[in-house]
């Protein structure tokens, strides 16, 4: 289909090595991208994909190794240099300027000018944008403000922007994570067009069906190392997974002990207008209850309300037989409830402060006499809990922001686990974490449950919910659509409940 001669290679990265604060996140990684080819870059979170792409697009320039573009060695000092060389990225987290129009966003920083340099020609700006949009067969109005667009549309604008720069190489970082099936289909049509024009595309995705639908080649990274690169025809899903994970899936999830009998936590008719309605469930002693569903199903919102971050409009919460009135996280924490948020950086950690300070923050009732911090006790217990959770850091005085995702998550867990908890809420506990740390966190969750702690675990990863729950609640459209005991919790059954809910509406 496609020839494999070296002149077809647009860009080659060889022996790329990159460290953060002494920790190697990339170790001798290679990547060869051909013209007119879609190249899947896969690996667990934390495998080094993003870092590799940041090097490719000029965001990091302190790396070892070489990059050659059409046979010539090249080194991008910054993102602009990479853009000028024809390398664009459509980031996973989009950063449009909401109050500017589509056209202004596309041409930001290089607006067409009138005869007078420095004066923007709005006529040219909108004409050129319209041409671009038409070329891709789209129907957007260039005057539309970005804030009025859906995520998918915003993504398309990013892609238009990449094309408008005459990019030869476009990196798409999980472009479909927020798209519907129809939008994905449409995006793939666009990708095929780009491929036919000879543009090379790096496609980062966790979704295997998409990789097999659109990609020509696959490169797998694991723990910062290059594992292999093969044409898609020589691979199947199992092969890729084995390359990614480096072990069998069955080794990842530890066996669970059966839960205890007494119901510890009870939620009855929890309702918050516009977010969730009439949500009721129970958790037994030592039981892990998984909550599955798609984004926007109201799962995180329920967790936030139980933890006091948002107010409930109706419903009641009982913990160990006591009816709770929770108005703030402080109330929840005092009653022994802890929540590990899906958004570590926003709600979990103070990134500019040390590991020790982060562990100290919610626990001043334990680590202070009056107002004065008991430094010795804090240091001792922080050390113990960090050792127990095997937080990897040269010192507890290191800023939390300098840690890897997995270690950050362990610090979040550590700050709660120095307390005696009665309920632990985990929202996407392994998001953005490498597979090694994942396994450790699963073991920890299992151990906590074995010690009798009831756990509510929200997760969008089906294998995780299925592998780690005694019972799975399926949420959609703000309601619990069904409940599956461990034996019946399969991907098919969960998806069926979700789809059934969508059909009702």
């Amino acid at each position: 289909m496609r020839t494999r001669e070296s002149r077809d290679i647009l860009l080659a990265m060889e022996g790329i090595t990159k460290s953060f604060s002494g920790v190697k996140v990339l170790d001798g990684v290679s990547l060869q991208l051909k013209k007119g080819s879609v190249h899947a870059l896969v690996g667990e979170n934390g495998a080094g994909k993003s870092t590799l792409m940041k090097i490719l697009t000029g965001m990091y320039d302190d790396y070892q190794g070489t990059i050659t573009l059409e046979g010539k060695p090249i080194r991008f000092p910054d993102e602009r240099a990479a853009l000028n060389a024809g390398i664009s990225i459509v980031a996973q987290e989009l950063t449009p300027i909401p109050d500017l129009t589509i056209a202004e966003n596309i041409f930001i920083g290089r607006e067409p000018t009138t005869r007078f340099k420095g004066i923007i020609s709005r006529k040219k700006l909108y004409e050129q944008t319209r041409e671009l949009i038409n070329k891709l067969g789209l129907a957007y109005d260039p005057h539309t403000k970005m804030r009025e667009l859906s995520v998918a549309e915003t993504q398309m604008v990013e892609i238009i922007k990449a094309i408008s720069r005459d990019s030869r190489l476009i990196v798409m970082d999980e472009p479909t994570s927020a798209l519907t099936e129809a939008e994905t289909h449409y995006l793939f049509g666009q990708i095929e067009q780009l491929r036919d024009q000879g543009i090379a595309i790096v496609f980062i995705s966790h979704k295997f069906d998409e990789i097999f639908r659109i990609c020509d080649e696959v490169t797998v990274l694991r723990d910062g190392k290059f594992i292999g690169s093969q044409p898609i025809g020589e691979l199947d899903q199992d092969k890729i997974v084995t390359m990614m994970v480096g072990r069998q899936i069955s080794d990842i999830y530890p066996p669970l002990l059966p839960p205890g009998d007494p119901v510890v936590f009870e939620a009855n008719g929890l309702t918050r207008a516009g977010e969730f309605k009439d949500v009721s469930f129970r958790i037994r002693k030592g039981e892990i209850v998984g909550v599955s569903g798609i984004m926007g199903a109201g799962r995180t919102e329920v967790a936030r309300a139980i933890f006091g971050l948002d107010r409930l409009d109706a419903g009641e919460i009982k913990l160990a037989g006591e009816k709770l009135k929770i108005r703030t996280p402080r109330d929840a924490i005092r009653k022994g409830i802890a929540m590990v948020s899906e958004d570590r950086k926003q709600l979990g950690l103070v990134l500019v402060r040390s590991i020790k300070d982060n562990i100290a923050l919610p626990n001043m009732d334990r680590f202070a006499r009056g107002w004065v911090i008991k430094r010795g006790k804090l240091r001792e217990e922080a050390k113990q809990i960090s050792a127990k959770l095997s937080v990897k850091a040269s010192s507890l005085d290191i800023e939390a922001g300098n840690l890897s995702g997995g270690n950050q998550q362990k610090v979040v867990l550590a700050k709660w686990l120095v307390r005696s908890l009665k309920l632990l809420i985990l929202d996407e506990p392994t998001r953005g974490i490498d597979v090694g740390a994942k396994t450790e966190i699963y073991r920890l969750i299992r151990d906590l449950a074995s010690e009798g702690l009831p756990i509510l675990m929200i997760s969008s990863e089906l294998p995780e919910v299925i592998g780690m729950s005694h019972r799975v609640l399926v949420m959609a459209e703000g309601r619990i659509q069904g409940e599956l005991p461990r034996e019946q919790a399969t991907q098919e059954n969960i998806m069926q409940l979700i789809v059934a809910a969508a059909k009702e509406h």
Binding site: V352, D357, L361, V372, S394, S395
Partner: protein
């Protein structure tokens, strides 16, 4: 301090990071000594003990104000009213002194007025979700207005013994320096060793995460403003005592001198980073620069320009060294 020692021992295992850490941590101190050396070379009088003592004495008030701003900036806030509140507190203290003849009543009044204004700032910010910038801007105008009404725009003289607060000596050391050191140490202790201090850093670093950790963030913010207000009030009394009278317009721009000291001393406007010793060093750097320019007979107009450039330079160097990661 034992905690810091252990930390450095731990970091010391890796020789390379050790140096970088040192550089990042103490870059401002290097700049401090560099300025001392350059100043000494430029003018032989600079290193005279009397001159050095003068520098510290003249900047004691700014250093106290800068302690207040440090707490605020570290927690992600700012106080633009400090200069006018300082004038209000100082003038009211002088008024009380003239009327009652009691130094303690005057001191108490000054500090209490500062504290009240600070608390009001905090109240506006937490109760009505005002930006600190806006709330303290409003307070600045109100405080200035009250000061002008109270004093009728002219100085309050005849403050008798109150002047010792600003002019007295403890042995060879001027009292303002003692007060300044006390406030610096108090601020250091609060920020380093109390839960309130931990919350100050945490709120500035990530307010949402601090709320989600069960901290009464609003209450803490009010306390922060109350404490900083008390410092401002004290600074006002010390300043007026040094000037021998209640001067209604002497506070103008002092908040910016204080913010400058804090920022030169490495306090980050992004919040969560900074410490009071850096601020003290920052205040002294600004003071030394003023001093050497005076010694060299540079006219005030040019002093302003040079000071501005040096401040920008110092902060750029500081940022550079801090962002020089691995």
């Amino acid at each position: 301090m034992s905690a810091t020692v252990t930390a450095e021992k731990e970091a010391g295992r890796d020789r390379r990071t050790d140096w970088k850490l040192l550089y990042r941590k103490y870059g401002i101190v290097l700049i401090f000594f560099a300025i001392i050396i350059i100043s000494a070379l430029l003018n032989s009088n600079f290193l005279e003990p009397q001159n050095l003592m003068n520098i510290v004495r003249q900047n004691a008030v700014i250093a106290i104000l800068a302690c207040a701003q440090t707490i605020l900036i570290v927690s992600g806030m700012i106080d633009l009213s400090a200069g006018f509140v300082l004038a209000l507190a100082g003038c009211l203290a002088c008024g009380v002194m003239v009327n009652t003849g009691s130094v303690s009543a005057a001191l108490f009044t000054g500090i209490a007025v500062g504290g009240l204004c600070g608390w009001l700032n905090g109240f506006l910010i937490t109760r009505f979700s005002l930006q600190p910038f806006i709330a303290t801007l409003a307070m600045a105008n109100v405080a200035n207005g009250i000061t002008q009404v109270y004093t009728g725009g002219s100085a309050i003289s005849g403050i008798k013994e109150l002047k010792y607060v600003g002019q007295g000596m403890v042995g060879p050391i001027p009292l303002p320096i003692i007060i300044m050191l006390f406030i610096v140490l108090l601020t250091w202790f609060i920020m380093k060793h109390t839960k309130f201090g931990l919350y100050i850093y945490a709120i500035g670093g990530n307010e949402k995460a601090t709320i989600a950790s069960g901290v009464h963030v609003n209450r803490t913010k009010r306390l922060i403003f109350l404490l900083s207000g008390l410092f401002v009030g004290l600074a006002g009394v010390v300043l007026m005592a040094r000037l021998n009278s209640g001067q209604p317009s002497v506070g103008v721009g002092k908040e910016f001198d204080a913010i400058t000291a804090a920022v030169v001393g490495g306090t980050s406007f992004n919040g969560g980073i900074g410490n009071v010793f850096g601020t003290l060093v920052g205040a002294l750097i600004v003071g030394m620069i003023n001093n050497i320019l005076n010694l060299m007979n540079v006219s005030t107009q040019y002093q302003l320009i040079i000071k501005g450039l040096l401040i920008a330079g110092a902060v750029i160097i500081d940022i550079r060294t801090k962002s020089a990661k691995s």
